[in-house]
Symmetry: C2
């Protein structure tokens, strides 16, 4: 890739999930919440790739339900692709690829992750883009900080210039396997951030998922375009069998590569992750490691995150818990078991259904 | 005391304190809250002594600020003494004693305690009344369940018919002393429930606190009486140096006696005590020992009390905590350290100042 080429950011706005219930909900999912600092995760995702010499105008892919939120929150110049329905990441990325030129390098980013070291993110993105321009399908790789069982793992393969081949993919291993991976030092987390040459991504989709590739292409051809938005045609798009880009392409291609990115990454997958990410933002925790969003008082307490939309939260004699107050819901969870929050009756009945 | 004689209950409505913040507050203190079951502690105090053959009409002693609450909550036939200002229990009890005949047996009860075994309470009250009619000043004695440092302790002295002399009084011992008392088996908690012959109580007050006795007598003489209320005259009443009945009389008299009362007593001194008291009320806790007042969901949690005035409380992966939601305040405390709640900024700035 020459220094003149641009990276075309593609920001995927789906998700939400139930593990940040009660704050994250279907009507206002995780990307659109100011979880860390004053800007929302979506805004931070846009900010991260805006106003930089090597980055072109971002493309945001989202559902109609969140069009208004995106218009409200995106202050800069963006293009929006409105999906007629959620069909997982492979279709979303392929539609975005069609909207670019075949030789454009796309940088696919989730809109609900946190990255504390932006400078490392930019270097890793440039390295990934360089490999992508050589027709590698590149995933940014995160060094594991624990034996997480909720992520996909990438085995480090042979060295390439600026990165490595991916040896193999292991999706959500059990705890024993995750511990082995961690001990081996040879596995990374798949952050869901990818660099592709648009034309090559579509070629590979066509090789491994020809039916999906054809439906995406037809939806794109029959789509409607305005100055700022593009809407794929619902009729063929709805027929797509939703699949993640990992399953549909990355695990099948012979051109999978990875670039290590030690950039303070978090997918803010639950309240514990959010507490950690806020603490990484320098100066946000008090000397006992307590963090408050909204009014809070702490007495004999350590490692407590409070997150309130109004009421004052007072915490006495407790360690490593999260207290969340949102309208008519109060959640109190241990940080250790925060991943269970999605199983609460409230989270499953009223929480955000997955949009993608 | 002959079987025809009546016990005249005297219900003291002061207190409130800050340790049940944010629910207990100056405007609506602890006695007037439905903390256990549907009836308030005050109502339960009245219920406990009403409609029984040996009990006369109760006298309630309170401040003007709570007159309305008392009128609203007391459904039965009561007499009310409205103190012009709070001067602690000795003055409140002495004023009530003046309003009775000298040979009436008064049973002094706080209005903010919980007693789960009413039948034992009634038996103990009868035994105490019998001793009181022989001019003993009688305190109901609670077998300690732990080395509490917040109570007064009574040392068991020589046996009397139906009770014992009190050997000595120890007010709020340190932890080591409390542990020694507990191990000795020879000390009880002072529950603040007393039986006195009215005339003898006033004689003893006159012996040990003649100035207070004179001021109370004058306040009574100059007081105003209606059908249901009596108001002592403010002018001399305000000059009284407030003192508890323990300090003013019980610790000085040679006629102090105690009657053991194993009646499931609790002063509901903090959120942990309340959780225990609710659990003692059969069937109120779930199989994990969780107790909910208001809507609540529990996941992987044990020994949790939730107390909400509206919002649903969801608790994940926690043990032995209390979560209290009251208007614009949310309190989360470990049960172990619940006695610290009064030290919170919210509790000390807005919590209930002691009325007595």
């Amino acid at each position: 890739m020459s220094i003149q080429s641009s990276i075309h950011p593609v920001i995927l706005c789906g998700g939400g999930g139930t593990r940040l219930w009660p704050v994250s909900k279907q009507a206002l999912p995780k990307p659109f919440l100011p979880l860390i600092g004053e800007r929302t995760l979506f805004q931070q995702s846009i900010d991260r790739v805006s106003g930089r010499p090597n980055f072109a105008k971002p493309t945001v892919v989202a559902g109609e339900a969140h069009h208004g939120l995106i218009a409200d929150q995106a202050s800069g110049d963006i293009r929006i692709v409105i999906e007629p329905c959620a069909r997982n990441t492979a279709a979303a990325i392929a539609i975005a690829a069609h909207s670019l030129s075949p030789d454009d390098i796309m940088l696919v980013c989730p809109s609900d992750h946190h990255i504390s070291d932006e400078s490392t993110f930019h270097s890793a993105a440039m390295a990934a883009a360089r490999l992508a321009s050589q027709d590698w399908l590149v995933s940014l790789a995160i060094e594991p900080t624990g034996p997480a069982t909720g992520y996909g793992y990438l085995q480090t393969g042979e060295a390439l210039g600026g990165g490595n081949r991916i040896g193999r993919f292991v999706e959500k291993p059990d705890l024993e396997t995750a511990k082995r991976f961690l001990a081996s030092g040879n596995y990374s987390w798949n952050a869901g951030i990818f660099a592709f040459r648009a034309g090559f991504l579509l070629d590979e989709l066509n090789s491994h998922r020809p039916e999906m590739a054809a439906l995406v292409a037809e939806s794109f051809r029959k789509g409607q375009k305005t100055d700022t938005t593009f809407r794929p045609a619902p009729s063929p798009f709805e027929q797509i069998a939703g699949e993640s880009i990992d399953y549909a392409v990355m695990e099948n291609t012979s051109r999978a590569a990875m670039v290590a990115a030690d950039m303070g990454w978090s997918d803010i997958g639950d309240w514990d992750s959010l507490a950690k990410a806020i603490c990484e933002d320098a100066g946000r925790a008090n000397e006992d490691g307590n963090v408050a969003k909204g009014r809070a008082d702490f007495l004999d307490s350590e490692g407590v995150l409070t997150f309130s939309d109004g009421p004052r939260v007072s915490v006495v004699g407790l360690e490593n818990i999260c207290v969340v107050v949102d309208g008519d819901e109060v959640l109190v969870t241990s940080r250790d078991q925060a991943q269970l929050v999605g199983k609460l009756p409230g989270a499953s009945s009223k929480g955000g259904a997955k949009c993608r």
